[in-house]
């Protein structure tokens, strides 16, 4: 299968698999059957599920999971925004 078609299939699998449900991961096919996935996920469960889901695809023989669980930090700063004219800026 041409890499462009496999990338599409992988993206669809990761978006629709109920264990994963991620639409914005980066997919790279360095060689036939080898998929590299990178980007951020919300939970460790989601990260683990990526490999499980992709191993179900017969076109894939090797998965490199380079995703990271996103860290959410406490809010520490407030931005001050001046109020615009009531009728709009122009």
């Amino acid at each position: 299968m041409e890499p462009v078609y496999l990338v599409t299939k992988v993206r669809q699998k990761l978006a629709t698999d109920p264990r994963v449900g991620l639409t914005d991961l980066l997919i790279h096919i360095p060689e036939a059957g080898h998929v590299v996935v990178s980007g951020f996920v919300s939970t460790a469960e989601q990260r683990d599920a990526i490999v499980a889901a992709l191993q179900e695809m017969p076109e894939i023989s090797r998965v490199s999971n380079r995703t990271q669980v996103r860290e959410v930090h406490p809010t520490h700063q407030s931005e001050i925004i001046g109020k615009g004219k009531p009728g709009g800026p122009s």
């Binding site: 109920p18 449900g21 914005d24 951020f40 919300s42 939970t43 469960e45 989601q46 996103r70 860290e71 959410v72 930090h73 406490p74 809010t75 520490h76 700063q77 407030s78 931005e79 001050i80 925004i81 001046g82 109020k83 615009g84 004219k85 009531p86 009728g87 709009g88 800026p89 122009s90």
Partner: protein, 244 residues
């Protein structure tokens, strides 16, 4: 002055129970209102929405939300909306609300919005029915924004969307997918009638700070962009100065 907390793209799943609640611990002291910019659940499931309202249950300031495309996926937006509203969250889908905070009034118009692209590469409602249908919800949102903003007589006027009405806050995303991230069709009525601040999510790899084509501040509060529990904005009555 009002203090706004805002975040979108929580993408809450069943694995998220209890994880978000501590992040909102200081919110009641830090803000006067919380705005949620869609994709609150990952699959649009009732179970996820029920977990979400548990996570939000310590928040006593007004909570206003719009839904995102993920909230439409499984059981439909009405189910998610109903669960949020039963918990006291105001949900806007091409609708507006007015809140009184102290002695000031805040008008908020919101909706999911939709795509279509920007400026010279914006899709036109021409040709096949499928193309015209694609743009229907974008135009419906734009019409609702224009109608509400033209009538809103509040001290502050806010716009809350999931999709972006401005191209600047998409920077970082592949240009090829801009038409699926928002549309200038929604920016036009905002610039025509004016607003103090526009908030949106959806563009996970975008940029927090931007403006509409007419110069109104737009903030992409997608959680993957801000990487904080929520973004905080103080909207001042006077000086039109952006400062950190």
């Amino acid at each position: 002055m009002i203090r706004i907390a805002a975040v979108g793209d929580l993408h809450l799943t069943v694995h998220g129970r209890g994880k978000m609640r501590p992040q909102f611990e200081r919110l009641n002291d830090e803000a006067d209102i919380l705005l949620l910019a869609g994709d609150l659940t990952n699959w649009g499931k009732a179970e996820e929405a029920e977990i979400l309202v548990e996570e939000l249950s310590d928040i006593t300031i007004p909570r206003v939300a719009t839904l995102g495309n993920h909230d439409y996926h499984s059981e439909g937006p009405d189910r998610v909306r109903g669960i949020l509203e039963d918990a006291g969250v105001i949900v806007l889908e091409n609708e507006s609300t007015v809140l009184t905070l102290g002695d000031e009034t805040v008008g908020i118009v919101g909706g999911k919005g939709f795509g279509g692209g920007f400026g010279t590469t914006c899709l036109s409602p021409f040709g096949e029915r499928e193309i015209r249908d694609f743009l229907k919800s974008t135009y419906a949102c734009a019409e609702a924004l224009g109608q509400a903003l033209s009538e809103m007589q509040t001290d502050y006027r806010l716009v809350l969307l999931h999709y972006s009405p401005a191209v600047e806050t998409l920077k970082g995303e592949p240009v090829a997918i801009y038409p699926f991230l928002g549309s200038s069709i929604m920016g036009e009525p905002i610039d025509e009638h004016g607003a103090d601040l526009v908030l949106h999510g959806h563009a996970h790899k975008g940029t927090e700070h931007g403006n509409t084509a007419g110069g109104i501040p737009v903030r992409n509060v997608s959680l993957p962009v801000i990487c904080e529990s929520y973004a905080l904005y103080q909207l001042e009555q006077k000086a039109r100065v952006l400062a950190h």
